[in-house]
């Protein structure tokens, strides 16, 4: 890959837990991070993002310590202040039991990292039914960025309401200081797609959504969908500096009204099959 900083920036928005699971297929790389069984973030790095992608197996999975990976990817510095200085990146994985090798080069100086991989655990399948999408909105990220900078951070819950009648898309927070509501009209220029079959209101824990803000800051477009079980899928489209697109997706389960720590009530049985 010509510029390691791209990968570092994308993975940084996933760096909210110590461990991440890597899936390699002939189409590219997928990195998954989970928390609490309630939120899952996936970054899709398709093979066209890389200058050269060679993969001969069916698929490979391993887990890695994210802290170490991020230190390695940013070994030559994490700020993008060095304009014009590109750090090139090469990743190699021989197979099961072998470490992941990362080779970075900047200005003639080469760094080689060898990171031991861990056994991957089962990851959660949120079973987000693409067929059962109740509501969907795709909009330019500036809109969302403004909204998220204004919502009350002290509030525990964020309510997302979408409806075919006005107000079409509403974000609300509630706290002891009062409540705030931000409404979006569906006809605005910023909104590209708005499909809403029925009125839905779902609450999500703001603490769980916090990691997605980094991805939001990098993205140019965002899509928000909820399915018939209230599971939230936020997809961020990020444009790298060589014009390629890649996607980061967050799944979050809604907060039940019951006093349940992670919001998984009876109706959700996390299906532990691998994707």
């Amino acid at each position: 890959m010509a510029n390691a900083k791209n990968m570092a920036i994308i993975l940084k928005s996933l760096h909210f837990k110590d461990v991440a699971t890597f899936f390699i297929t002939e189409n590219g790389l997928k990195v998954t991070v989970e928390d609490c069984k309630c939120i899952q973030a996936n970054a899709y790095l398709k093979k066209n993002l890389f200058d050269d992608f060679q993969f001969n197996e069916e698929s490979l999975v391993f887990k890695l310590n994210m802290n170490i990976l991020m230190d390695c990817l940013t070994i030559f510095g994490s700020n993008t202040a060095n304009v014009g200085v590109a750090t090139s990146l090469e990743m190699r994985y021989v197979g099961y039991g072998f470490p992941l090798q990362i080779i970075l080069e900047e200005n003639g100086v080469i760094t080689e990292c060898s990171i031991k991989t861990l056994e991957s655990d089962e990851i959660l399948d949120f079973e987000f039914c693409n067929n059962e999408v109740v509501n969907k909105i795709i909009m330019k990220s500036e809109f969302m960025k403004e909204a998220f900078s204004e919502i009350d951070v002290s509030s525990e819950l964020l309510e997302i309401a979408m409806s075919p009648e006005p107000p079409y898309f509403k974000l609300s927070t509630f706290s002891s200081f009062g409540s705030t509501h931000i409404e979006y009209p569906k006809d605005s220029d910023m909104v590209e797609v708005f499909q809403c079959t029925e009125t839905t209101k779902n609450k999500y824990r703001t603490a769980l959504l916090k990691p997605s803000y980094k991805a939001l800051a990098l993205s140019s477009k965002v899509s928000i969908r909820t399915d018939n079980r209230g599971i939230l899928s936020i997809q961020y489209m990020i444009r790298t500096d060589d014009g390629q697109n890649c996607f980061i997706e967050f799944f979050c389960s809604p907060e039940e009204e019951v006093d349940d720590p992670c919001g998984i009530g009876d109706e959700q049985e996390p299906n532990v099959a691998r994707e």
Partner: protein, 281 residues
């Protein structure tokens, strides 16, 4: 015992400020200031196992316009003072725009090095600022503790690449392990490596210059053979972070398995850091 010195040149004041800031960053709280007839030394006091020894030498005449010293006795015409370089640095920092400074050894409630700073002022009366840096006079029988550390027998000597890259790499490596292995060979190659059970990260620098000044005896015939020493990464990172003076060159000498010697030159000052190798941990 008497000591008086004056500096009139603003550039010398700035240079002194930079030297003292560098020393302040490298040592742990206190150091020894040794005043001799032609040289001024800053010596670090760290005696711990992995401690870095710092030896900084300035040619007095290049900095001070007036310098008068009366040592402990006529034969031992030197004064050894223990002080906190941070305090001295603050004094010099206040002198950043001074017209002149005067330094003297005085006894107020405690012995101190008084820095009198003559500042420019718009009004007719002069403005002056006085810093009293407390010092502890080191008695003569302890002077032998502060002799120049012996130069280790090095097998290889390379000139370090620009410190900026090294600094960034070391900062990240610090998160991985607290011991770093520094290796160099006679083909101008330098490797920095950290290793734990989970990960190993190595950075390779190539095409470095190889100065001759430190090698005694014949050079190792096999130019590709590496000599390494394991040192405390925090101290090495500290060294890279502390350089306020733009050095002409920073030379790194490796004494296989025993010591890393860092030497940097500047027209009027030399600073040497001796980093002992640590055993496997």
């Amino acid at each position: 015992m008497r000591f008086r010195a004056k500096v009139f040149e603003i550039s010398s004041i700035h240079e002194l400020e930079k030297v003292v800031s560098t020393v302040a960053k490298l040592v742990n709280k206190t150091c020894i200031l040794r005043l001799c007839k032609d040289k001024v030394y800053f010596i670090s006091v760290d005696r711990t196992l992995s401690g870095m020894q710092v030896w900084c030498c300035l040619q007095q005449a290049k900095f001070f316009d007036e310098y008068s010293l009366e040592g402990v006795t006529a034969e031992a015409n030197e004064i050894y003072l223990e002080l906190a370089p941070d305090n001295l640095m603050r004094a010099f920092r206040s002198a950043h725009n001074a017209k002149s400074i005067k330094i003297k050894l005085a006894k107020k409630h405690v012995p101190c090095l008084t820095v009198e700073i003559d500042l420019p002022s718009r009004s007719l009366s002069a403005r002056s600022l006085v810093h009293d840096v407390p010092v502890h006079v080191v008695s003569r029988r302890l002077w032998k503790d502060y002799e120049e550390p012996a130069m280790p027998a090095c097998q290889v000597s390379v000139e370090l690449p620009p410190l900026k890259t090294l600094k960034t790499v070391l900062e990240k490596m610090k998160n991985i392990s607290h011991i770093v292995t520094v290796s160099a060979n006679n083909s101008g190659q330098l490797n920095i490596k950290v290793e734990t059970d989970l990960v190993s990260v190595a950075t390779f620098f190539r095409h470095l210059a190889q100065p001759n000044m430190f090698l005694r005896g014949d050079r190792e015939p096999d130019a590709d053979k590496f000599f390494s020493v394991r040192v405390d990464i925090k101290k090495l990172a500290l060294f890279c972070n502390s350089q306020h003076i733009t050095p002409q060159r920073v030379i790194c000498n490796v004494a296989d398995k025993s010591m890393l010697h860092l030497y940097f030159t500047h027209p009027c000052t030399t600073i040497q850091c001796f980093l002992p190798g640590t055993a496997a941990s």
